[in-house]
Subunit: 162 residues, 2 copies
């Protein structure tokens, strides 16, 4: 129901939000999110084109989040990656229906609207686990960080003082 | 978000419910629902295999609904055609997460759960319009019926006494 591309993009965005401004290469994001690297790289290009992430070349380059996680919603990401289509008009093209939906399409649209509302109301900051709970995309009590020297992912104990 | 197969199958089931026991060939259902005939025929085979519809061969044969529209829900149809997958376990396979979802996957699952609830609570009988409102899959104030002689679809005025 939620496309794989959307789910993968959300993993990537949450990963960048967890890095708190530290650039992260596509290879590293793919490693953390467990998404095939080529697939991830293509998704990141789309997110960069849409201005959601910055892409910086060079030795210490990589992707950073270009938006405040408190202002960025799941809906914003879905809209870029694989927009959810509401049913505003009769899908059969029946002229007399027009924008007045029959009970079948009205009910389907209500279900879609529920998802839209949840996604519009959920910011990326809400997807970052508070200390002590299950952290997204990583082993419990650990978060990933980058090894400055090797560029490899390493896990570190989560700070409980946050 | 709702797959085309599910939407088409719902159109077909609603069409059969509107026929009130009168057999309807795949060709006629395809005509009413405006679904490509080959696609529709394949969907009907699946619904017949699952026991949701009866298939009767012969001159006056066709498909009939095998369930009471008051007991048949959207969910029942979705389950057969293209099941909605809830997120019960960490999709990344992170062992320490197990069935304890992180905030990202918990929120996604909540959105899916909302759709599940709507679909479980909506019966096919609720998708049939009361007289005077917009009827599913047909021009306003008309419902389709079958011409016994030619087997063609004809539209008739909707009864307002129902």
């Amino acid at each position: 129901m939620i496309s794989q591309s959307v789910e993968y993009a959300l993993r990537a965005i949450v990963t960048l939000a967890q890095q708190e401004g530290e650039p992260c290469t596509a290879k590293v994001i793919a490693q953390i999110t467990r998404v095939p690297e080529a697939y991830l790289a293509k998704l990141m290009q789309g997110l960069a084109r849409a201005g959601l992430v910055n892409s910086q070349r060079g030795l210490h380059g990589g992707f950073t989040l270009n938006r405040d996680p408190h202002d960025l919603t799941i809906w914003n990401i879905v809209e870029i990656v694989d927009p959810i289509r509401r049913i505003h008009e009769c899908p059969l093209g029946i002229e007399s229906h027009g924008t007045t939906l029959c009970p079948l399409h009205r009910r389907l649209d209500e279900a879609i609207q529920g998802v839209e509302t949840t996604f519009r109301e959920t910011t990326v900051s809400e997807l970052l686990a508070p200390a002590g709970s299950v952290a997204p995309l990583c082993e419990e009590t650990k978060v990933f960080s980058l090894d400055g020297r090797t560029g490899r992912v390493r896990s570190r104990k989560r700070s409980t003082s946050k």
